[in-house]
């Protein structure tokens, strides 16, 4: 993914409140978030700033394309770039929706028990979507089956019925910032806990639970 070619007179920065990002950096952030989301077993922190900025970027590009018509080559290249960005963004959001739908009671519970100041895994719109999904499904099950069942069985606790994300699943990662003294709990009881260091640039296959906080902080990248 290259930077915006200059000749269309593009001058934008997809900046958030604190940091000013070049378009290239923004897209890199998007791709990182996308890959992390794809390979993590649970729903990760929501990144509304990235989504907003990328959408802005796409709108910018569309404007420029519309203005600079008929110059086929530049237009084609920009349209191709737009398609690619749109694909990555859509794929990222789809991945999140899929996880939301798959783990909806747990996602909602996590949001309910979240403390103020802790980052949320759901954007406000995703939260609304999740609540609607839960209500829709509960209503359906109640009307079609549960209300016809014996009185003591009419409540199904979806939180217990729907499986949780498997945080013990293994993931591949690349280390971006050196980490020391990561405590690893082995699978079998015979081995004791041991401690490892993660060198910058190294790649590992490790249980997700061990490094979950490092994904959130950006110290490692799932691949």
């Amino acid at each position: 993914m290259t930077e915006e070619p200059d000749f269309l007179g593009q001058d934008s920065d997809g900046g958030s409140e604190e940091v000013v990002l070049t378009p290239a950096e923004l897209i890199e952030r998007l791709e990182q978030a996308w890959m992390n989301e794809k390979f993590a077993p649970e729903l990760l922190e929501s990144k509304p700033e990235i989504v907003e900025c990328v959408m802005e970027q796409l709108e910018h590009m569309e404007e420029n394309v519309r203005r600079a018509k008929r110059e086929d080559l530049k237009v084609s290249i920009h349209q191709m770039e737009m398609e690619r960005i749109r694909y990555v963004l859509s794929s990222y959001l789809r991945c999140r929706l899929m996880k939301i739908e798959k783990f909806f009671p747990h996602v909602l519970e996590k949001e309910k028990t979240r403390r103020d100041g802790e980052p949320s895994s759901l954007s406000p719109e995703e939260l609304a979507f999740t609540r609607e999904f839960m209500a829709n499904t509960e209503t359906y099950l109640k009307n079609v089956a549960l209300k016809h069942m014996p009185p003591n069985l009419q409540k199904v606790d979806l939180f217990r019925a729907v499986p949780k994300p498997d945080l013990d699943s293994y993931v591949f990662l690349r280390v971006r910032e050196r980490q020391e003294n990561i405590l690893v709990e082995p699978d079998t009881d015979e081995q004791g806990d041991y401690v490892i260091d993660l060198e910058k640039g190294s790649q590992h296959l490790i249980r997700y639970k061990t490094i979950a906080p490092l994904v959130a902080s950006g110290a490692v990248q799932l691949i």
Binding site: E52, L58, E125, N143, V144, H148, L153
Partner: protein
Amino acid sequence: MLRKGGQSRSGASSPGQGSVLLSGTAAALARALGASANGNPQEDGLRQVLEEMKALYEQNQSDVNEAKSGGRSDLIPTIKFRHCSLLRNRRCTVAYLYDRLLRIRALRWEYGSILPNALRFHMSAEEMEWFNNYKKSLATYMRSLGGREGLDITQDMKPPKSLYIERQGLTVSTGMNLTIIAVISNSWAEAIHLSLVRCLKDYGEFEVDDGTSVLLKKNSQHFLPRWKCEQLIRQGVLEHILS
């Protein structure tokens, strides 16, 4: 999601009664999930399971009363067994219904907001209502993305990867010409935004990017922006010719 019922552990008879095939129907329901992709909702099967549950519950109620007042503690194992059957029936039923919902959900992503009639036929009224609520919820979410009209994330399902075909000076006469030109173009430009598609059925007017519209008649061929025709390709109206 809720794990399927698995093999039937039925066939046991409760003491003092004729043999009752417990949970057999429920397990059959769950097994029906594996069989058909989008069959009709097994309304009969569902009803049978619910009736069986009612019967089991009533038997249990009377036995519980007997056990308490008549001191018949020998009935307790049977009561427990029936309760387990009830729980299992509920689990199979809910698993079956939920799995159907997941398949219906997949239909929204495959076919778009409007389902082909053949599929609608296989859905119960409540399932249809669930589907409508789901697609409304999804639409609200998609519209909220970004500043303006939102982003339709049911598009762009595949990474862009088609051939670049020069728009001007190309006469579309036979497939042969196109192959040659495509091979030449491909070698220097991987950039793509147009696909060659053939129309499989009469569709009518279709608007493209610059405001012009194209008449999609059966067997006509067009160069169309790839992302615009994705959904039509999925619905079977257009067919991608070169890829």
